[in-house]
């Protein structure tokens, strides 16, 4: 058939010539190739000490944001949990009591907010679903751990640090 792309190359299978059959010349050229690599700089990044530079839209560990006054933005509407394809997010809502206005922005807040990092696929749909801009996947890589239960991250690990007064 005629090639449309004009990129078709017909390869002929030629019998090996003497130099190729003698092994040694081919082996010597192979040794030269590997020796070139011997002196190359290794591409390894020694992970915990050095970190690879991430792209701007890298999706890592989640963080629950605070607003400019240091109040938690999350209102426990549950849209993130609903949008989550891996069903990794769960929460319990509670009503804001008088005197807690400096802690929570809306009258309703998440008393418990848990993400199972073993279920999470870091797709970012929770981020897109959130109407309050409360959750972002802007953190680091989720660290390794020994027990499954330790991968269920609560508010202690997720909520941003409070503003410095």
């Amino acid at each position: 058939m005629e090639s449309l792309s004009n990129k078709k190359k017909v390869l002929e299978v030629k019998p090996l010539n003497f130099m190729e059959r003698a092994y040694l010349p081919a082996i010597v050229s192979g040794l030269a190739t590997t020796m070139k690599h011997f002196f190359k700089k290794p591409v390894t990044i020694s992970y915990p000490e050095e970190k690879r530079e991430f792209s701007e839209n890298f999706r890592g560990m989640h963080s629950l944001k605070r607003d400019e006054n240091g109040k938690e933005r999350c209102t426990a509407c549950g849209l993130c949990a609903l949008s989550c394809p891996a069903e990794a997010i769960t929460m319990t809502a509670a009503e804001r009591q008088p005197g807690e206005e400096n802690l929570y922005r809306e009258e309703k807040y998440a008393a418990v907010y848990e993400i199972n990092m073993l279920r999470c696929i870091f797709c970012g749909l929770c981020e897109e679903a959130c109407p309050k801009e409360a959750i972002y996947l802007d953190g680091d890589i989720v660290p390794a751990d020994y027990l499954r239960k330790d991968f269920i991250y609560g508010k202690d690990k997720l909520v941003e640090a409070p503003l410095n007064q």
Partner: protein
């Protein structure tokens, strides 16, 4: 010989060589991983100790702590004899290698060779041929088809390549006229290395050495892609470690043999001047360092080849052994014979 001091010195020498062989084997595993990493643009083990230098100890500790498994259907006695034989034959090869010139310490003259038997080359060959028994017995006693196939491969490969190895040595022996490794080493004084007179013989010998030590590209007995783990499929714990150790000690010894037979042993250009300068104690020690450097270069070469070329197909292996190496070795003998006769005829 005979006095207590001489015997003590001999025992000390044996112990030192034994320890050096084991340490070399240990650090060859480390070096292998490091070299492999460098060839593949990686860093290699670097967590245990500075630059990962304690890695071999960690590996050894792990192997010792692993569960010892002897399969139900295996022959227990032979199953244990296999690795023991492998490491035993690997270690006793070092007995006839001259590690340096005669050294004077105080009033004692120390021979840096455990024993100078007049059939040193033959002894090396005998030990090398015994080496395959460890693999064969271990593979056979495992009662596992993959182990057995690996063992059979090892046996037939070693037999095939021993022939051309022996033939390549014969050409060398025609020139040296002696089987004693000490005398062969002494003949290569200064720069008169045998590689100059036997380049083809050396190439044949090194190819066969790769095959005898079961190193890539001739590592078909432990070919993972076809045979799971080859002859040591059923082995675990330190018995497995012994097989791996034996491979590295074999590599060390065959590097030493190659350096001794072809690359001038402990001789180097300008050694007389150096010996005068350093005296009768440090001069031979420097020669030992030179020999050791040559050995390290060979070990590096073994690794370099391993991380460069893929393994042969089994029929290619047999073709290379029987149809190329053996005729070449015989041609080498004939050429050496003609050459040395003509040279003597014309009075060189």
């Amino acid at each position: 010989m005979g006095s207590t001091a001489d015997i003590l010195i001999k025992i000390g020498l044996i112990l030192i060589i034994f320890v050096i062989s084991l340490v070399m084997a240990m650090y060859s595993t480390y070096a292998e991983r490091k070299v492999a990493a460098f060839f593949q643009d990686r860093i290699g083990p670097n967590r245990a100790g500075p630059w990962g230098l304690l890695q071999p100890l960690a590996d050894g500790g792990k192997l010792f702590l692993k569960e010892e498994i002897i399969p139900t259907n295996a022959t227990p006695f032979l199953f244990i004899v296999g690795p023991s034989l492998a490491i035993l034959t690997a270690c006793i090869g070092s007995a006839v290698i001259p590690w340096g010139q005669k050294m004077t310490i105080g009033s004692h003259v120390v021979d840096l060779q455990v024993t100078d038997i007049n059939v040193g080359v033959l002894y090396i060959f005998g030990v090398v041929s015994l080496g395959v028994y460890g693999v064969m017995i271990g593979g056979w006693a495992s009662n596992n088809k993959y182990s057995l196939l690996g063992a059979i491969r090892a046996a037939s490969q070693n037999i095939s390549y021993e022939i051309s190895m022996g033939l390549s040595i014969i050409a060398l022996l025609m020139l040296t006229g002696t089987l004693s490794l000490r005398e062969i080493a002494e003949q290569q004084h200064s720069w008169h290395w045998n590689i100059i007179r036997q380049p083809l013989g050396f190439i044949l010998f090194i190819v066969c050495a790769f095959a005898e030590t079961n190193r890539t590209p001739f590592d078909l007995p432990e070919c993972e892609t076809e045979l799971v783990g080859g002859y040591h499929t059923e082995y675990s714990s330190m018995k497995m470690g012994f097989y791996l150790f034996a491979e590295y000690i074999n590599m060390f010894i065959s590097s030493a043999v190659m350096a001794t037979l072809y690359w001038g042993s402990y001789n180097y250009p300008g050694m007389d001047w150096m010996n005068n300068l350093l005296g009768p104690t440090w001069g031979p020690l420097f020669g030992f360092a030179v020999l050791f450097f040559k050995i390290l270069v060979f070990i590096f070469f073994f690794m370099w080849v391993r991380w460069t070329i893929p393994r042969f197909r089994y029929d290619q292996l047999m073709d290379l052994g029987w149809k190329i190496l053996i005729p070449l070795a015989i041609a080498n003998i004939v050429l050496t014979g003609i050459g040395s006769t003509l040279l003597t005829h014309f009075g060189y």
